[in-house]
């Protein structure tokens, strides 16, 4: 992935959290790139640091409990990380948007849907009230809300979870952003609605040629909707690959474990394969490879810090033994 094509670049991001034990690093050495019109899935279990990464990109880390220690985040080469809050707030909702996991609580209950969308349009596009309202109806229709011209006057409580998520999407794409970050957009929704929302995001991405960062823990979602995948474990990126490569030929033991543990409907399984152990807490991570203690293939070398390396063009992996492992065997 060349620098010039990337719309969004994350370089060497590190985030710390304030806990009972003082400041602890919860994500480090995070490097990501997303190109125009492309979806990069950021995958990991809860506690992997993926949500924190997404918030850091937007500049929405809740200080002082979470803090970006260092790193550079660039939107078309412009450094977001050296912007003031005021400058950043002008970008958010305009060129860089985010939607969140909990649609039920993410819309201000005291305002109508029309007012909420209108606010974004007036802030970034200076539209008049009536123009904003008209555009709002258009947007609601685009995201698949029926009877939009009536619904625009409704308050969030009148919408179901899936509908609220659509409203949030409408707010996020109102100004046709270049980058859309979706943090677990379907996790809180019914399975049937999940597919619809992903479909909607896909079609919007095509329409606006957006770069999408899809944060999720659900590999099934990844398979459906992303071109490339970055896997995070305990605060580190452990593998980056195209979605096809990742599922057929994972290079990192953790990735292999994740892929293996997807329940499959085509093959008879006698039991579900889970990865033994649990994610270490930030203060418990090893100095060396964070995954070593749960890894079936760990060697002595794994006790030393592991850098991420380019395995093949377009693939990166953080594993000192990747060359010697053939993990696609375990997929069968």
């Amino acid at each position: 992935m060349s620098d010039t094509a990337a719309v969004l670049q994350v370089k060497d991001l590190e985030v710390s959290a304030l806990t009972d034990r003082g400041r602890v690093t919860i994500a480090a050495g995070v490097n990501l790139e997303i190109e125009r019109g492309q979806t990069l899935a950021l995958v990991g279990e809860s506690g992997s640091g993926k949500t924190v990464t997404a918030l850091a990109i937007m500049g929405l880390l809740p200080e002082p409990s979470l803090r970006r220690e260092h790193g550079r985040i660039e939107l078309h080469g412009e450094a977001l990380t050296s912007m003031s809050e005021r400058e950043l707030s002008m970008l958010r909702g305009d060129r860089l948007s985010m939607i969140f996991q909990e649609p039920m609580t993410s819309l201000d209950p005291a305002f109508t849907v029309g007012q909420l969308i209108g606010e974004v349009l007036r802030r970034h596009r200076g539209l008049s009230r009536s123009a904003a309202r008209a555009k709002g109806i258009e947007l609601l229709e685009r995201v698949g809300i029926p009877a939009a011209s009536h619904r625009i006057n409704d308050y969030p409580y009148a919408f179901s979870g899936g509908m609220r998520q659509r409203v949030m999407i409408a707010m996020a794409i109102a100004c046709e952003p270049e980058v859309l970050i979706a943090d677990e957009p379907t996790t809180a929704l019914d399975v049937t609605v999940q597919a619809q929302i992903l479909e909607l995001l896909r079609s919007l991405q095509d329409e606006f040629d957006m770069a999408v960062l899809l944060v999720t823990h659900d590999l099934a979602v990844v398979a459906e909707s992303s071109e490339s995948v970055a896997v995070m474990y305990a605060g580190q990126i452990v593998e980056v690959a195209s979605s096809d490569d990742l599922f057929t030929r994972p290079l990192h033991p953790y990735t292999a474990g994740l892929v293996r543990s997807i329940p499959r409907s085509d093959v008879r399984q006698r039991r579900l394969d889970a990865i033994g152990g649990r994610i270490p807490a930030p203060h418990e991570v090893a100095v060396g490879c964070h995954f070593a203690q749960r890894c079936d293939y760990a060697t002595e070398q794994c006790a030393t810090p592991v850098e991420i390396v380019v395995a093949e063009p377009g693939r990166r992996v953080r594993c000192c033994n990747w060359e010697s492992l053939d993990l696609s065997e375990s997929m069968k």
Binding site: E85, R86, S89, S106, D108, P109, V120, H124
Partner: protein, 314 residues
Amino acid sequence: MLHYLIRRLLAVIPLLLIVAVMAFGLIYLVPGDPAVAVAGESATPERVEEVRIELGLDGNFIEQFRRWASEVLHGDLGTSLFSDISVWDQIEARLPATMSLVVFGLVMALIVGIPLGVIAGLRQGTWVDRLLTVLATAGIAMPAFWLATLLILFFAVNRHLLPATGYIPFSESPWEWFRHMLLPGLAIGAASAAEVARQTRSGVVSVIGQDYIRTSRAMGLSRRSIAAKHVLKNAGVPIITVVGLQVGRIIGAGLVVEQMFAIPGLGQLTIAAVQSRDIPTIQGVVLVIGSIVLFTNLLVDVSYAYFSPKLRSS
């Protein structure tokens, strides 16, 4: 929405009724025969009977209450035993002064309390927040009449900056009205401002952590519009609730402070009535104040529909 309004209105009526019963029942609390107590120990039996009828104490409780209530609804609150003037006339004459003070105190509580509370809430944990919290705590604990004493001492007695007594109606001279209201208004408003600040801060803090505020930030809204619109409106319910509660508190504190500043309001009337056991006047005052408070509560209730739209449909 209309449905909601009507329901709230209907809910107030039984409360008014109970307040009226309590006001009326006051006469029964008087030890011994109230008629004798009022007419005097040395009154003749005929005089006592006269007083009894005057007080409306003939007949059984329901009859008496009904009679009294119908008089009240016709605007007749009885006659003061002390001065023989109609109770309502007296109250009416003194209401403007008291209401001036109450409104002044309330406005002070709002324009000082809310902004300070918002600032403290937005800057939670910083020295600003801690300082304001300390001030608020001290303010709530300070009795209004002591604060009034200190204010008089500081501004009036030693330095003659502001008047220590008297009341000038707004219609006569707005500036003088203001000058005379400033010290007493400050004295009663301070504790309320502190309560409002406290509640506002807590409301702001709990709203700020909500997901929809994060959404607002993610959509690039300015800090100011987030604070002014989204935070305040959602914190509106607890804030307006505490403001509504201040009305009763301010009226009560106002009674004492009026005495101190020689303001010709309900306070003076009430104290004089207590000392002379002028029950009809007390009944009138209780009824009027109770009605004011209940009406205020109704307004607060109705405002909830604005702050929390979900209520409009229920």
